[in-house]
Point group: C2
């Protein structure tokens, strides 16, 4: 029987990565200071392979973890492929996605550090829901700054967050703008800023997904040829793929490909640059070296709100630069087509974000068929789409189009990033 | 480890019930003939204690059964009660509710009997979703006649049904009207009518819930003092409670109270009459003896669409008349208050129908506290409310009121039922 791992897994112990230090912003006013609990700072920098999960967090995980690993047999049959497709389902909790894994850990650390209120930004609302739910578990009030597009098109996300005791504030603009608004809220002394996805400690917390999947596949005598996960700021991809990539790198398991799937509307990995940029549009917080389209990138309003972030995490970026992982970008219509097929065959409606991984797995399965190789594919179904049915209705009505930025647009956005040298000079 | 039961459980083997035969309608035109597969007819009449579950059905059940049994510890603490509250969660499948248990069985039998298309009626959309999903599994097209109120207030239910390959047609009026519309669709020869909840075979199929719960509680060394489930046409209540009531009646287990919770807006059990009535508003199909408010009862448009049915099943009715089970009726505001409390504490948003059982369990837990008796309470959380957040938003906005019919209204509705003698004369 699979059990919940007792520790989080740190890939930096197994792959000597060049993860350059953050640099102070040339625009820092000194008023915006995310006050990270010391334990999270230590996790952010840690080189230890195993970071113990606190008992208070494990107790909360036990409400829905270990999460199920399913084999998508009906999808395999429908694709007429010899590939064996497994998926790890992270949607079976109140937040409806994997986000709760790190939200609970963060709420625990912030509460222990004396915070009484948390402020955060959310794109699709999955992270906001998770943070509100986790905050409530540890007696914290959570204020969620939600991108205006999601606020309008996903009213039930707001209802759910409010039902769980949270406060929701709409912010016009992209996720970077919502994050900046949340940062400003922390000028109030009792309020701390927290963020879901791109920080190294978030990726660390999410490794419960991949570690469980390793154990579950081992029970079946399987090892994946390829691991697929969708890529926003990076925690879902990192949490799923890193334990596999690390085991292979340690020589304890066969090699494994890891494919990060991003929307073609927001292709930071496949069309961005690896350079220092801001993580939010305040331009006041430290710059991180990452694959980015520029913090001012006007991400098209696709339905996968959670993947609209302009950059991706330092760790995922370093691994991509290192050649250790792959990237792929797909458009909304093909992604929704795969999601509907999956829902019909496997009985779970994927979140639009997770649908990118579904399509990525379908592409791998069709490649397996074409190459007559019976590959083993694992993907992470990171969340359910019960609150995203408006997007599915648009797809069914033929109103979903793909919105791919042209090169000039990306160039213009990248040109707004201060030069590395300028940033370094301070 | 709990396994899926190999058979359905028939309470008629353990309790010698007077379940009077159906009577032909005095208004039957002869054109409306639900063509029930022979196996379902046999199940409807069966007195055998165990009815084997076909392998094709068991295989489908395995996708999400056995369903989890949780202990609601946070709710217990919040209620400051010594009662131990367990709940069986049936929302973890594509239909989001227990309805899929009988939908799969029915789709199997109809497909085996040569049907190519199914027509059915749905109130809240849970049954429609289940029937569309089950139909697709066995190659059947499903047309769902949905009450107009649900069609308008739950657009995403429709999106989901259409995504799964179903066709959805709105019908003004209550569930009886939707059922009548579905019956009329069966004038087309390839189309068969099917119905979700009130037939004895539906209750039979749902006993997988109660049987699993018996086994799961036994593993914990527990036996409930009281089993609580919401009551619409009866399948959720019957499926949950009957295996417990039967075991107690056989003398194999201690006595158990079984409480059917209905909305005060549609109180068939607690304020209706036990008499012959129509099961739909066509007035053409056979009359059944049941607790009813009258087939013409104008059920207020409460959010628990699945509980708006004017009557309840023959089996539940006979047991209630026999004194073997209890009834309770609660209003929308108190029911939603309990549901929000449950969502905050236990991390699952209940469907408005299931919220009635949540409130029923809360009432029992508070009674346990008042009487200083550490009772064991089991309730069925029959479905999730992710597609019902509009109702929760109304509740949060203070716009949910209770709508309780007055005696004169019920009298008027009951007066529209043809006299038993008239029906018997044909």
């Amino acid at each position: 029987m699979t059990v919940i791992p007792a520790h989080w897994y740190n890939i930096r112990a197994d792959i000597p990565l060049d993860v350059p230090d953050d640099r102070p912003s040339p625009f820092a006013s000194g008023t915006l200071r995310p006050q990270l609990p010391a334990k999270l700072i230590r996790q952010e920098m840690s080189r230890a392979r195993e970071v113990p999960i606190p008992a208070e967090v494990l107790e909360r995980y036990a409400a829905w973890r270990p999460t199920p690993l399913h084999r998508a047999r009906a999808l395999e049959r429908d694709l007429d492929t010899a590939a064996r497709i497994y998926f790890k389902y992270e949607g079976g909790n109140i937040s409806g996605s994997h986000k709760l894994n790190t939200a609970i850990a963060q709420a625990h650390y912030y509460a222990a550090a004396g915070a009484t209120r948390l402020a955060t930004g959310t794109g699709a609302g999955q992270w906001g829901t998770a943070m509100v739910a986790a905050g409530a578990m540890f007696g914290l009030e959570t204020v969620v700054y939600m991108t205006g597009h999601s606020y309008r098109t996903k009213p039930y996300r707001r209802t759910l967050m409010e039902m769980l005791g949270g406060r929701v504030v709409p912010v016009e603009g992209n996720l970077a703008a919502a994050l900046a608004a949340a940062l400003h809220a922390c000028e109030d002394p009792g309020t701390r800023f927290c963020t879901g996805s791109g920080e190294s400690y978030s990726l660390l917390h999410q490794t419960v997904i991949g570690q469980e999947a390793v154990a579950q596949l081992e029970l079946l005598g399987e090892w994946p040829d390829v691991v697929v996960a969708s890529l926003g700021a990076g925690s879902n991809f990192g949490g799923t793929a890193f334990p596999f990539v690390g085991a292979a790198r340690r020589g304890e398991a066969p090699a494994v490909r890891a494919v990060a799937v991003e929307p073609s509307a927001c292709p930071k990995l496949t069309r961005g640059q690896y350079r220092y940029d801001f993580t939010d549009s305040s331009r006041e917080t430290p710059m991180q070296k990452m694959y980015t389209l520029g913090h001012a990138f006007a991400t098209p309003e696709i339905h996968a709100g959670g993947l609209r972030y302009h950059g991706t995490s330092k760790l995922v970026s370093a691994l991509y630069a290192d050649g250790a992982i792959e990237g792929a970008a797909y458009g909304q219509p093909e992604v929704f087509a795969a999601a509907v097929r999956f829902a019909q065959l496997e009985g779970i409606v994927p979140a639009p974000e997770s649908a990118h991984a579904v399509h990525g797995a379908v592409v791998e399965a069709l490649r397996s068929r074409a190459e007559k190789q019976p590959r083993v594919i694992l993907f992470c179904l990171s969340g359910h789409g019960q609150l995203d049915l408006a997007a599915y209705a648009e797809y069914a009505g033929g109103r979903l189009v793909d919105v791919v930025p042209d090169d000039a647009e990306i160039e213009r956005s990248l040109a707004q990033i201060p030069q590395d040298t300028a940033a370094a000079r301070r």
